[in-house]
Amino acid sequence: MNGSHDVGGMHGFGPVTIDPDEPLFREPWERTVFGMIRATLPRFYNIDEFRHAIERMGNIDYLDSTYYEHWLACLEILLVEKGVVAAGELDRRARLSAAGVLTVTALAAQAAVTVSHPGGISYWREGTEPRFAVGDAVRARNLHPPGHTRLPRYARGKRGTIAAVHGVMVFPDSNAHGQGEQSQAVYSVRFESAELWGESADGRGAVYLDVWDSYLNPAGEQP
């Protein structure tokens, strides 16, 4: 979706703000949200549903909230949609909590909760011969799907060169929408800065994107 998460090449966000002394979590609730995501992904939703839920939180809210607020919004959206919690109950408890009268009872006979290691979830898949080889000239398709996609706007319609063939991976555009993995080849594609940004490119350089097969056409074809 053409949402406010897709910021590559935008102007107006100001200088990079660097705090060399920031703590790992700046508020206790951020730490809790981190733990809740780790305990529910991928048990109730996959990584692509996670990213798309953040994209669906709304363009204005996205830019006006912090990283862990995005994660909180994702939890609220997906755990309600997946039927893990009821929206009404969530709202009721938030009001009780705000009033200082929410009592929390952990499940009595608590079995150990196992949490997957983030690096332990593999998106590599077998099969399908890659359509392109290293050195092939390609053009990113001019796609504007309303759902989840990992082809940023700044690359659409642009020409690039295959720099590496990574292998076969789960396709986010389908996996985010319950449409299966539709696994396909993923390539590293080199886009020259001048191709992406024209005269505004700030010197010699290139952007390398990881691109799924169906985002690409041979360079000779129209985007």
Binding site: H5, L24, R93, L102, V186, D202, V207, V211
Partner: protein, 199 residues
């Protein structure tokens, strides 16, 4: 990721508590789950696994070749298991590499820990691809016009780490000494590694 400061709005805290209470009651969270999952990041104050891998690569050409071609195997030697998505990009006198995720905040947690806030903010994510030299200058790093800047936008389930150049004056240093010299920012590509100042 627009706002930099954390929200201490009581409404946000209330929503977090509400959700936490429901997950606790259903046994999806155990009382110690949050502590357990953050423990490895909170306890990991020592040198980054990524820094150790780079230091070893500087000292050992065979390890360097392995790290650049098969990071999955190379990382096992520095204690990182089951991480088969990292791609390491080597800085050279003619090429400087920089890592970003313009669409979200993908970052190689197992080798670099959790990302700094600036990495997750729109200012960095928007500008790293269109004006990387201007962004690097804000980090105090000037890249001359003769060098090519390669920006790695982490759009798939692959993650990137930069192998900085070994600074002159560090020949003869041990792996431990070199590891301690390599800051996280050099592994993202917004800094270079500096030799210790001569006293």
């Amino acid at each position: 990721m627009g706002k930099n400061h954390p929200n201490v709005d009581p409404y946000v805290v209330s929503r977090v508590r509400a959700l936490e209470s429901l997950l606790l009651e259903q046994g999806i969270l155990a009382p110690d789950t949050v502590d357990r999952v953050v423990a490895r990041y909170e306890a990991d104050t020592g040198p980054l696994a990524g820094a150790r891998a780079v230091a070893r690569a500087w000292l050992n050409p065979d390890y360097k070749a392995l790290l650049l071609s098969d990071s999955h195997q190379a990382l096992k030697a520095v204690g990182v298991e089951s991480y088969d998505v990292l791609r390491v990009k080597e800085n050279t006198p003619t090429v400087h590499n920089l890592v970003v995720c313009t669409l979200c905040s993908c970052y190689p947690w197992p080798v670099l820990g959790l990302p700094p806030t600036w990495y997750k903010m729109p200012a960095y994510r928007s500008r790293a691809v269109i004006e990387p030299r201007a962004v690097l200058a804000e980090f105090g790093l000037e890249i001359g016009p003769e060098r090519e800047v390669r920006v790695w936008d982490s759009s798939a389930e692959l993650r990137y780490m930069v192998m900085p150049q070994q600074p002159a004056g560090t020949e003869g240093m041990t792996e431990e000494q070199l590891t301690a010299l390599i800051p996280r920012d050099a592994l993202i590509g917004v800094a270079e590694v500096r030799a210790p100042a001569l006293v």
